[in-house]
Amino acid sequence: MTSRRRWLQAGAAAAAGLAVAVWLGRRALPVGPSSADPGELDGPWWLHLHADGRLTVRCPVHELGQGASVGLAQLAAEELGLPLSAVDIRLAGSDELPPLRMTSGSRSIAAHARPMARAAAALREHLRAQAALQLALPVDLVRHDGAGFVAPDGRRLSLDTLARQAAGAQAVLAAGGRIEPPLYSFDPARRLRVVGHHAPTAQADDLVRGRPLFAADVMRPGLVHGRVLQAPRPDARLLGVDADAVRQLPGVVGVVVDLADGFAGVVARTPGTLDRAMARLQPRWQWPPDAADAGSASAVDVDAALARGTLDHRLAVDGEAPAGPWAVDLRLDLPPLHHAALEPRCAVAQFGADAGVESLDLWLGSQDSSRCQRAAAAELGWPLDRVRLHRQRVGGAFGGRALVDVAREAWRLARAVDRPVKVQWTRADEFVADRVRPPSSHRVRLAVDADGRLSQWWHAVVSGPMLLGELLAPRRVQPLLQAVVADFGATRGLVAAYAVPRRRIEFGLRAVPMHTGPWRSLGATPNQLAIESAIDDVARRLGRDPVDYRLQHLAPAQARLAACLRRVRERAGQLPLPAGVGVGRGYACGSYHGDSHVAACFDVHVERASGRVTVLRAVCVQDSGLVINPDQVRAQVEGNVAMAIGQVLMEEAVFDTGGARARVWSDYPLPGLADLPPVEVELLSDRRQPPTGVGETALVAAAPALFNALRDACGWRPQRLPVRPADLRRAAAETPAP
């Protein structure tokens, strides 16, 4: 309470009043994802200039390892003329910041860069005005350099002197906010000192030294440990548990069972006691007897759906219905994928009292901490400010921390036992209750005219729900929502960039008996895998160069994407493909959100006898507009390459009637050090363009480029992923050796 009051009082009256209005407006919304981009009133709260001239950036995005916090700090430093060493990055909690946007969709920089730069620039201009007053000069004669403000006659006022004089340095921004200050960071003519240069990631030193950063690192006096049963399927109902057998176990502090809510949890003195307790809980689950068997592929089958007529949603229909004959008629089925972040999700909850009023502190690693805060307040029937959210670093998210139930599990248990409780999911929980990337099934039919140009493009997709499911709506409302709107997660990137006169692009959603949700790049990578395979196969069939063929179909509006593709070919061509049997090179290109562009080239070797795949080399050329921290952008591209290798060659979340089958880490193999080739990354940075998303972009080209390289190497287009050595061995046995 007190600190909330401090947060409000920190601002000048006008600014605080406006900020409160924004605050209340957001509170009135139902508990859904925090999807609103920050507005211009948010920026001022992100910055605090201290009397010693140091700047604290209260980072407005969750730090998941994407490194966006340092990028945003670089913008603030650039605008204020500070070295980055004078900036401290703070993953501030709900006491110090207005509600945060959910950190997703590669929006950390795209949505926050301008408000951040604007807030810092407004602060700079306010200080310039103060300096002008003291120097008795018109404002435009006062020059800004790194250390402060300088008069034409050489008199100077340092930043820290001005900061000392400006009481409540963050609040003054609102006053300056009405005039658009010049933004140095986005001025292409300006020589930048911080933006565009290397900067170490936030908390890098803390990470290598093992300092507490993550939710599980939080310790509280009297802390006990909790764990909650995870439903194996979204339609599973909990009928009962053997609570008495667990209560008697030494070390058990409490057992909480609420069957109506499907909630059963145990609190114990140690995590090991929880292992024993959960093993004895003997849950009895029930799901509808006619529910689709998650182990069968029948739920998501594009041809079966098309046989019943057109799909529910049409994203593009030009001209008459496509009719063939088809140059390529391709089917591609993609399996569900686990997120498999290394950190099992965790929350710590503690109830307390501020001046006699009950309050809740939550320490949490999530992509959407504001949602967790709102959900807790709503369920407790409290005003929002009685729930304090302490935002911790997240040990990998990839879409899997967008919905984080563990916060609710922790506070429910803490309330029941009246002690601080830490709940950390086990690895088995992370598989059982993972909101996997839903399976999808694609049919792409392409026709060409007499000149070999694409004349018809028909892409039909059936997918499980990605965003239009649990993330956005309660179970009962989902079918209605899904009937009205195409799942805008699963359809991301479904409309290909290529110019084709006659198109039909349709989408159907199928309920699947598994927990599903967003996964890095949402539908963009699955859709791109189908799109980029199909166009590659057409070019191959016509005997055309696959890059030239793509370029021929990219309209002038796609010039930036075309530039990436040309450059990746040039760069890849600098090293010839090694001679020999089973060697292949594949290309692909794509845009994410329509404004972040990438092209990729992979070289692979497939050993015919064993089916063993060696990825020899990957080249990625990306244009995400203004690059704030090149090293971090490269890191994101590299990470996407690793995930491309995983999903093309290894990964598949396996389900049977009882839900996800994986229990231990080794049940879900991922690429390791030896599976990663040398990766070359080139950034086509155009400073006139605003910064766009980088967290997911490279995946939309890297995965299909690798798939196309496999096709090039073995002369066969698999109909499903992942492509495992056994598949390649079988294919090799059925085709004559080249």
Binding site: L64, G65, Q66, H198, P200, T201, Q203, A204, D205, L207, V208, R209, G210, R211, L213, F214, A216, D217, M219, L223, H225, G251, R269, T270, P271, H339, A340, A341, L342, E343, P344, R393, V394, G395, G396, A397, F398, Q424, R427, D631, Q632, A635, E638, G639, N640, V641, A642, M643, V664, W665, S666, L670, P671, G672, L673, A674, D675, L676, P678, V679
Partner: protein, 154 residues
């Protein structure tokens, strides 16, 4: 019960004795640099040094660890607080993304390094193949190991 960790003896309450060493380091001794990613010895996040050798601390109980001198990530820096050469290599190559797995990788390399730097990167890279990283830092891990070996030759 007593555990010898980072150069001193720590008293540990008896009810922790049969918990894994990883859990006890974190929850009883509050040395949270040791991470638990899988609790089955498969991911490598929980590596500590036991008498100088790399040990996945989720695979032994605290009781079993009593005879050993344990060093955790927090105890790796030199006595004057400077980062260990392996930590420095990780910083120089900006390896970490989410960073959750990096401590275990650093400890694994540091154990081998302290035993005598190898002639080339191969044995260290082989060791790291058994460490999981979902962010895809493998390329930078490789670069950090190569930098470490260059440093030794200089």
């Amino acid at each position: 019960m007593k555990l010898h960790v980072n150069g001193r003896a720590h008293a540990v309450e008896d009810h922790w004795a049969d918990e894994t060493l990883a859990v006890v380091l974190r929850e009883a001794l509050q040395l949270v640099g040791t991470k638990i990613g899988c609790a089955s010895g498969a991911c490598g996040c929980c590596v500590v040094h036991a008498d100088g050798r790399a040990l996945r601390s989720c695979t032994v109980t605290a009781r079993q660890a009593q005879p050993f001198e344990i060093v955790t990530l927090e105890g790796l820096a030199t006595s004057d607080g400077l980062p260990h050469p392996v930590q420095q290599a990780w910083l120089d190559e900006s390896v970490s993304q989410c960073g959750f797995c990096q401590g275990g990788q650093i400890m694994a390399v540091a154990a081998a390094w302290n035993a005598g730097p190898p002639a080339d990167a191969a044995p260290l890279l082989h060791l790291l193949q058994g460490h999981a990283c979902r962010c895809g830092t493998q390329l930078r891990v490789r670069r950090a190991v190569e930098r470490l070996l260059r440093r030794d030759r200089q």
